[in-house]
Amino acid sequence: MIDIHCHRECAAAAAMVKPEADRIGRKPLQVGNELTKKVNRRQLAALRPKMESIDMRVADMDAMGVDIQALSISPYHLFHWTEGDLAVRAFQTINDDLAKVAADHPDRFVPLGAIPMQDPAPARAELRRCATELGFRGIEMATHIEGVEISSPGYDRFWEDVEQLGLVVFLHPTGFTDPTRLLDHYFINTIGHPLEETICAGRLIFDGVMERHPGLKFVFAHGGGFLPLYWGRFDHAYHAREDVRQNLPKPPSEYLDMFYFDTMVFDPRQLGYLIDRYGADHMLLGTDYPYDMGESDPLGLLYSVDGFSDADRALIAGGNAVRLLGLDA
């Protein structure tokens, strides 16, 4: 069983960017009301051992039945606000750390690299280093880069590279860019995450990234957010309006079908819909380990979905990840 959606912090990179973060006043997970900030601070402190200790992590994996974690950096450690040399060094540090964890435990971890997307040239260089020197099979990607859509023209050559290298792209939001109305009730996460995924998937489709690069393998966290379950309005608008259709040759849902989704939706009915609609070959097991918005019994959730064969379940539990990440090669 392979967990496509789980996180690890990088203390070394965080220490490296801290002086600059202090200087400009950046703090992680500080969007929300006072209670949310307090809960987040408490959680981060409580999770520190799980972030640092590989033994503890492996024990948790065993308890959940997870054989391999496709490990990505905690989204608040994607330091897209850094610039120049600091940015390059921070992301290299993250990737070197992920590479070391995987090298020390090759049968338990597969790294998903972090890319300094704030500057396209270093982004392409680090992508290539991850794929060639470090041997990574996938990367993690935010749903926007400091407010810039990842589908914007500046990233065209980057996506060309990713498609050519055959890397999996695990998409994970880092918080909604315009959170004024999402401060209470932890909306920044419960609504902000699925909203970010919906906007990002929409832009990848309408901006033509999927049309130009059909080989890209995007895996969306949180079941892809709202869009995969509520896609009818996109297609209707495409058929009804020129400002939606523009030059896109196919309706949006046909591009949506090209995406992959994790199982992090917490309910067998929602998960059952996704498997039914997008196919068992497009679903990958996830846990969001080690956060409180995670799924501690991912196999229990998967097996509580009725109407699918054991072969389908095997694909979702690991077969698809093996295929997409090329772990059988």
Partner: protein, 355 residues
């Protein structure tokens, strides 16, 4: 045939391009569309001198091409928004017997000041009453409230009841302020007491900077706005304190009815969610009603399986181009049984609105 993806094409789509579909069995029930709109041009005249572009986030964040398309559409489709005879002819084409008629959301004018706002609401409600008088066996009025001024809104609840309307339509926010604002508590109490059904209809999302292109201001903005509003109403305890409130969510209720489990999970694991309610958020959602403007039979089935066919209602969003021109065909394409289809096509509406 005119390209349907043009304003002119969509005006036709409501009537001329509806090919006969012999396989669509019309349910043996008076069919009711609970989600349609009219315009009250006089209310636009009255408020125009006070209008500022940022009062209207959906338009404010629209791209120039979107604004052009919408302006042309409103010009071409004007009769559908203002002429009851045109409306009834289109209802006949769709197989709709009875239509609930509510204001177009961009005419809420909640930003009008304390003097103007009640006058606008009175004028609008009287115009709606006149429009449905044209044929009261086919058209039913849905009132509007001056929500920017809660005292005036409470007073208007009584007037709407006196006009004989069974429902009011409200926005998903009031000039960017959320519906659980304590200032609105008296309005919720008055609505509960009045037994008016509340149709929650968004007017776009106020923080839509990233939704400018591809009409995402509507395509994402509308369901998002409903999602925020209803989740807040649940978590802030408005339904807990006013258990008699009956509410219809348009566009299938937006995202929450399809993606409710994350909010339930957070309720179980995060203290922020449990300040005002003791039950799972989805339990409150189960008491609400949802229309069918989701454009896909599979999504209709998802709603029916999760919330029950007795909680679904036909909606068309007539005459907007984001509307469902053939609601009975959509219903017929589902795998729901005949009794369930009859409930959705009209039985539920008759019960809920007391028709």
């Amino acid at each position: 045939m005119t390209d349907p993806a043009t304003p002119a094409g969509w005006v036709e789509a409501w009537t001329d391009t509806r090919a006969p579909k012999p396989d669509v069995v019309t349910p043996d029930v008076v069919t009711v569309d609970v989600h349609s709109h009219l315009m009250v041009p006089e209310s636009a005249e009255l408020t125009r001198p006070h209008f500022k572009p940022d009062f209207e986030p959906r338009t404010f964040y629209s791209s120039p091409v979107t604004k052009e398309i919408n302006d042309e559409f409103y010009r071409l489709a004007r009769a559908k928004y203002t002429d009851p005879a045109t409306r009834i002819a289109d209802m006949d084409a769709m197989g709709i017997d009875v239509q609930l008629v509510a204001l177009s959301p961009f005419q809420y004018f909640y930003w009008a000041d304390a003097e103007l706002s009640p006058r606008v609401a009175v004028l609008q409600n009287e115009a709606i009453a006149r429009a449905v008088e044209y044929d009261s066996s086919r058209l039913i009025g849905v009132g509007t409230l001056p929500l920017g001024h809660p005292d005036a809104a409470v007073a208007e609840v009584s007037r709407v009841t006196d006009l004989g309307f069974p429902a009011v339509e409200i926005g998903a926010d009031v000039n960017g302020s959320d519906l659980d604002d304590p200032a609105l508590e008296p309005v919720w109490s008055a609505l509960e007491e009045s037994r008016l059904v509340v149709i929650l209809h968004p007017a776009g999302f106020t923080e839509a900077r990233r939704l400018t292109d591809y009409y995402l201001v509507n395509v994402i903005g509308m369901p998002l706005s409903t999602t925020l509003a209803v989740t807040r109403l649940i978590l802030s305890g408005v339904f807990e304190r006013n258990p008699g409130l009956r509410m219809v969510l348009v566009h299938g209720g937006g995202y929450l009815p399809f993606y409710w489990a994350r909010t339930d999970h957070a309720f179980r694991h995060r203290p922020e969610m449990r300040n005002h309610i003791d039950r799972l958020p989805s339990e409150y959602l189960q008491d609400l009603y949802f229309d069918l403007t989701v454009f896909d039979p599979g999504m209709v089935e998802t709603l029916a399986n999760r919330f029950g066919a007795d909680h679904l209602l036909i909606g068309t969003d007539y005459p907007f181009d984001m509307g469902e021109t053939d609601p009975l065909a959509l219903l017929a394409q589902t795998e729901l049984g005949p009794e369930e289809r009859e409930l959705i096509a009209g039985g539920n509406a008759r019960r809920l609105f007391g028709l």
